[in-house]
């Protein structure tokens, strides 16, 4: 049988207050040394990755727009076909009579 709502509320509030009353742990000095020695083994993050990060940010920002444009172009190509108007114009200008006949 399901307990009454009030009982669950009370139980939940008790558990939540216990969670909030939890004491924070404080690390010892050896922990600090471990972290700093781990960091010492890593390379300096300054220049490296900066360009990559910049590229990543911009690439993702425009990814959605690029996909939408590609989709529109695909639909256009499938519905109208690929016609090279420039080539047709050149042929016409080179030899208009042949072209028309």
């Amino acid at each position: 049988m399901k307990p009454p709502r009030k009982r669950i509320d009370e139980f939940e509030a008790f558990l939540f207050s216990a969670y909030r009353a939890r004491e924070e742990r404080a690390p010892d000095e050896s922990w600090r040394e471990r972290v700093m020695s781990e960091i010492g083994r890593r390379s300096v993050p300054a220049a490296e990755g900066n360009d990559q990060a910049l590229f990543g940010r911009f690439a993702w920002r425009f990814a959605a727009a690029a996909c939408a444009i590609s989709a529109v172009l695909l639909v256009y190509i499938f519905s109208n076909g690929i016609v090279n108007y420039e080539e047709l114009a050149m042929k016409f200008l080179e030899n208009p009579i042949d072209f028309l006949i």
Partner: protein
């Protein structure tokens, strides 16, 4: 010798007075040791976040991982003057990743309540007033039981529940920390709490505390 010690002490004191962004610039410029000042400054913040979310034995390891992640991601730090917030984001996401990994492990611990927990719960469930148990020993039991109940939730539900309901952070802040939309956080937090309440209701019912 004495002079050297004074100079080093003076340098340390002036470095400790530098702002976060200045320290970040120093680290980026190759002075890795300056990261120690950021570490000392934000150790309480990170441990405050991790201590509540992660099992006691794993707190130091996760906190270490957070600072190493922060160091290796310093190139992406750009929001001037908000280092604490940037670091908190890394910390919250590291805790989330921790639980995702824990849930993926084949041997998921705590499939049922321990004898002590069951006994404590039976006492609570049969008691007229739950508030009467609010002493330190009982609080520890309560924390363990809550951790057990939260183990029934997914890593996502657990994280959002902690941020919104247990720590009572504003939804917008939780959304920013997690990188989720505000609506997603609202919906997830609501569902997660409902799931948790269902687990608690089952626990009370199993102990016969339906009155």
């Amino acid at each position: 010798m004495m002079l050297n010690a004074c100079i080093i002490k003076g340098m340390r004191e002036s470095a400790a007075r530098l702002g976060d962004d200045e320290l970040v610039d120093l680290v980026r410029g190759g002075n890795t040791d300056s990261f120690a000042y950021l570490l000392d400054r934000y150790r309480p913040t990170v441990f405050g976040i991790v201590s509540r979310r992660v099992r006691g034995a794993d707190v130091e390891e996760v906190a270490q991982d957070i600072f190493v992640r922060a160091f290796t991601s310093l190139a992406t730090y750009e929001r001037k003057g908000e280092f604490a917030h940037w670091l908190s984001k890394i910390a919250v996401r590291a805790c989330y990743d921790y639980w995702r990994q824990m849930y993926r492990r084949p041997e998921r611990p705590m499939s049922s309540l321990s004898e002590d927990q069951a006994e404590w719960l039976a006492r609570i469930a049969s008691s007229a007033s739950i508030r009467a148990h609010a002493h330190e020993e009982s609080m520890n039991e309560a924390r363990e039981l809550l951790a057990w109940a939260m183990g029934k939730l997914s890593a996502e539900d657990r994280t959002v529940l902690e941020l919104v309901h247990l720590e009572e952070r504003p939804v917008r802040e939780a959304a920013e920390l997690l990188g989720w939309s505000v609506v997603n956080v609202k919906v997830r937090a609501h569902r997660a709490r409902r799931k948790l309440r269902a687990v608690l209701a089952r626990l009370i019912a199993d102990q016969g505390g339906t009155t």
